[in-house]
Symmetry: C2
Subunit: 348 residues, 2 copies
Amino acid sequence: MGQKVKLSTIADALGLSTATVSLALRDSPLVAEVTRERIKEEARTSGYIYNRRAASLRTSKSGIVGVCVHDIMNPFFGEILKSIEDELDRHRQTFILCNHYDELQKQRSFVDTMLQLGADGLIMSPAIGTPATDIHLAEENDLPCVLIARTVEGSGVTSFRGDDSYGMSLSVDHLIARGHRRIAMIGGTEATSTGREREKGYRRALETAGIDFRPEWRIAGPRSRHSGFDATQTFLAIEDRPTAACCFSDLVALGFMYGLSRAGLRPGVDIAVTGYDDIDEAAIAMPPLTTVANGQSEVGQRAAAALLARLQGTAGSGVVELITPELKVRQSCAFDWPDRRSSPTEPS
Amino acid sequence: MGQKVKLSTIADALGLSTATVSLALRDSPLVAEVTRERIKEEARTSGYIYNRRAASLRTSKSGIVGVCVHDIMNPFFGEILKSIEDELDRHRQTFILCNHYDELQKQRSFVDTMLQLGADGLIMSPAIGTPATDIHLAEENDLPCVLIARTVEGSGVTSFRGDDSYGMSLSVDHLIARGHRRIAMIGGTEATSTGREREKGYRRALETAGIDFRPEWRIAGPRSRHSGFDATQTFLAIEDRPTAACCFSDLVALGFMYGLSRAGLRPGVDIAVTGYDDIDEAAIAMPPLTTVANGQSEVGQRAAAALLARLQGTAGSGVVELITPELKVRQSCAFDWPDRRSSPTEPS
DNA sequence: CTGAAAGCGCTTACAG
DNA sequence: CTGAAAGCGCTTACAG
């Protein structure tokens, strides 16, 4: 490589102006077809590399969309991310991914970087504790945001997520219909809208069935496979042990089932288990996991589309857009409980 | 927000020049302490946002490092990515992540984007079929590369990966020592150095033990949990069925074990299984998975450090740097299943 | 210790 | 259909 080739290198080589070259490279109809081809050919052979920083400085559009979630390794986000990426690709936007690990500082430094890079927009699953002002800061600096999976009160920004409380009630209803009366809920935290909503659905389903909730049934906290595994101990120690557990997510459920097996119990036989998200693994797990399909690709696709629309100038709804979840019955609750029911003290 | 605040806004407000403001904001000792503080204070209160595109255009340093792998959701990469991120953070480099899904086109468009954005360097696990010229293109355009996990012949670039053939021989030796003579290898492909190396280790271990390899033992292909699950059918159909399977990765092994259970077989009892990578889940799986720790955080940390060193001007070794793997013996090659185990709920 | 001026590589009116 | 010129917001010699 001699000198770096730039627009003016091409312009000089062809005896044209940089304006013409710039236009031609972007397929402007203002440039004559022949000229355009000569220019493109020259760009190709000379190894020209478009300098986006320069262009972006001038136009104040960067073609970048930042996407930030707490756990890119969670298959749940994997699907969302994939559909966002597809949608963004289609509109030739570069997508920059960030894992904030639910650390507010990491998220802030990412938003900051996006601001400095002049990103066109932001899609995020806000970290625990994100104040509405963090979102406003971005918005006020011309960085439109769309939220996914979680909601931030007062952010004024559109967010897309599953109807978590309804979804959770679906799986608890299912458990109740199979005869369970003592049902634990494992995982999730008060600190996120997801955790609050799913717990709400769980409680409401119990209430509707006339089952009195007992505090020891709620094992809050776990949100990973590993912590689901660890929660087994707590679960097994509950006095008058529940016969079923609805888990905050598939990952938690899968870890919990490992824990059950390890303790010599058979998930799906001795203890009924449900998950949430319907990740790929749910269908091949042992036993195959009954769970709630959460519409992740719809979340991703719609969030990306909504952001793209805002970039076009359309205002967002500014409201929580709910995707309706769906119960997927498999075999992790398959035991026929009525045969075995033995606590006559429970209301029916 | 009125107008966007920039260096000159601050300079004007304080009756200083943009040069002084620029220097002060970057903590230059050339600026008097008091002046510097006034400037920083003004920047803070006015909501100044540093424009990295402008700075980068001028300095031709962007502070960006691109990282590209085929599957960010694989926990194996999760660990590598985390350690890269930590190392990069420490040097205040922004890290841009990309998933190429082993599609050459995706990888190319990412490299292209990095070039256009003026990234300072690139760390990648090259997609299947990456020609050395793709790496040269980046290098020649001032985008230094470091490879991880996989190697590209003739790229001339430093790469960091585990000693895959040695690692695989470790687990096969272990199986042989436990008395297995018919051992299948499941997953991985000829198309990657990882696949080739691990198969080499498998074959060599058999050979050393005087066991004649049979072609039907090699079930190539699977590299995900799901395809590991699917491979169970092929495995079970092998005539004179092997008593053990060494899998290409933990994910494959975990899926394969699901498949075995589904078929009514007990992994670790009826069929011995080994994995590769020692991801987090291996220790809590049922049965806990015997596997090979692959030094992923060392890979990530050293790759990032090597790239950073190149950015400082130090030349890379240009050679494959091997990390020595280690066998982790757990129970998947000899498991004492808890008592009451029988195959759970029959899938329909 | 501070300022004036040039320049990084594009794009965008504006002329012609 | 093509060109000359200004400007995006920084940083970097160079003066003083």
